[in-house]
Amino acid sequence: MAFIECKDVSFSYGEGENRKAAVKHLSLSIEKGTFTAVLGHNGSGKSTLAKLLCSILLPDEGEIFVDGMKISDENLSEDDLIELHRKVGMVFQNPDNQLVATVVEEDVAFGPENLGVEPAEIRRRVDEVLKIMDISEYARHSPTRLSGGQKQRVAVAGILAMRPSCMIFDEATAMLDPQGRKEVMETIGKLHDEMGITVIHITHNMEEALEADRVIVLNDGVIALDGTPHEVFSETEAMQRMGLDVQQPTKLLHELRLAGVPLDDGITDLDACAREICRFCAGKKQ
């Protein structure tokens, strides 16, 4: 069984007339150690899916398994729930609203403290993750004085100190400036490449999705597209129909292809696009 396994999962908010389906008969499996990006327009059910995976919400129908444990169970014991939260960490959009302490290192220690880890071991883990996240120099600072990107790295460090095997980023880059985004994306790369952590990155940003192994596009609570970034971004029309803005280079190549120029339109990178056009033009001259 894959690390995360959703079987025919449905979830609705509200009751009676206000009932609104947010996730509909969704089946999904995510392998351990992979990096998955989740795209979708506002209200397509991305956050709802993330919350279902953490058992913050319980599905109305269907089953969810995480690392072999059935989490879509109303009678899940508190200890199992804590273990799930330890295993699957979440980083949220607003960096200010997820930091709990007035000192960076205290905040990072919050998770392990809740888990009842020995003080000396907490100290070791905190120093270690601060170093990995490259924020050791701010250990004694107040988080309010840090930049957005730094705050998000503190949040990641706080999760990392719990030794998770999976991390879900729910639009963790949405409120950041380009520099902050870059920092967080580098961090995500590190978690995935070097530490082997399973990453699920929910985003509106196509460029960020490109860095993933797999892209899933949600549309009104169902999976509309699922594949490698190359495969998904080739579906230019479907993407645009779902209100997702495809990048300029992809759009250009797609339009050219429609006009009868045989180009590869899964390309999203500006340089690669230029090279592709050059390659084609060079081929034509000969």
């Binding site: 979440m90 607003n94 200010d96 609203n97 930091l99 709990v100 302490a101 998770g111 309010t144």
Partner: protein, 286 residues
Amino acid sequence: MLKDITLGQFFPGNSLLHRLDPRTKILCSILLIVAVFLAKSALAYGVLILLTAALIIISQIPAGTVFKALKPLIVIIIITAFFNMFFTGGEEENVLADFRIWFLHPVIRVEGIVSAVKMALRIVLLILQTSVVLTYTTSPIDMTDGIERLLSPLAKIRVPVHTFAMMMSLALRFIPTLIEETDKIISAQKSRGADFSSGNVIRRVKALVPVLIPLLLSSFRRADDLALAMECRCYRGGTGRTRMKIMKMTAKDFLFILFCALFIAVRFLPMISSSALGITGMNFSF
């Protein structure tokens, strides 16, 4: 502009008082408050004044800064002294001044003056001692931790000590964030032509409504986000929670507590007889 408000009065430093365990400092403040209230003789007051001066020197905080702590309470000190001066009974022969204003008949007696001076001195000593021993030399977060650990025995009789400590530290964490947000909202309203600085009081209070309502709404949102983030970080109240920082009382802590406890003995310092001061009928007791 609101950002300039400093929270608490903590002055970071490395003096003996800074290095003491917060629990020691809380206990010692209580001991010193008791000592001040027990003092009766002029000699006792003299000893306490010397002690306060010594504490200020040990704290390595500039005396000018320490005395600033008195500023907000100066009115209270004056009013207390004033009432003590007129409303302390005493012997007819000790009347120093006798006013007749309409039907009022205030009289100043020696006893009144003595009691006014004592009262004022008490308040001043209380404020100076607690600021130097506690508020100026203990960071708010250490203070919260100290209170939590001091009161932890009460948790056995179901007093929610941990919950209150958590609430306090979260409040400390979010005050700067909310202040920053208030600033932003005020600027936003100003840019739409809101006027906060003219008109009478009612008008100005009314002008604040469009600031407070968005602030309130966003605070609820923050609280929601924060609760979710805390749940995802395995928080389940105080049960099974450990702490990274180990608080340890060392020899210097016990010595300091003993030292402060000694001053309770000022109660037994001899009265200086009134005849020695050359004023008949003067009595230092209450």
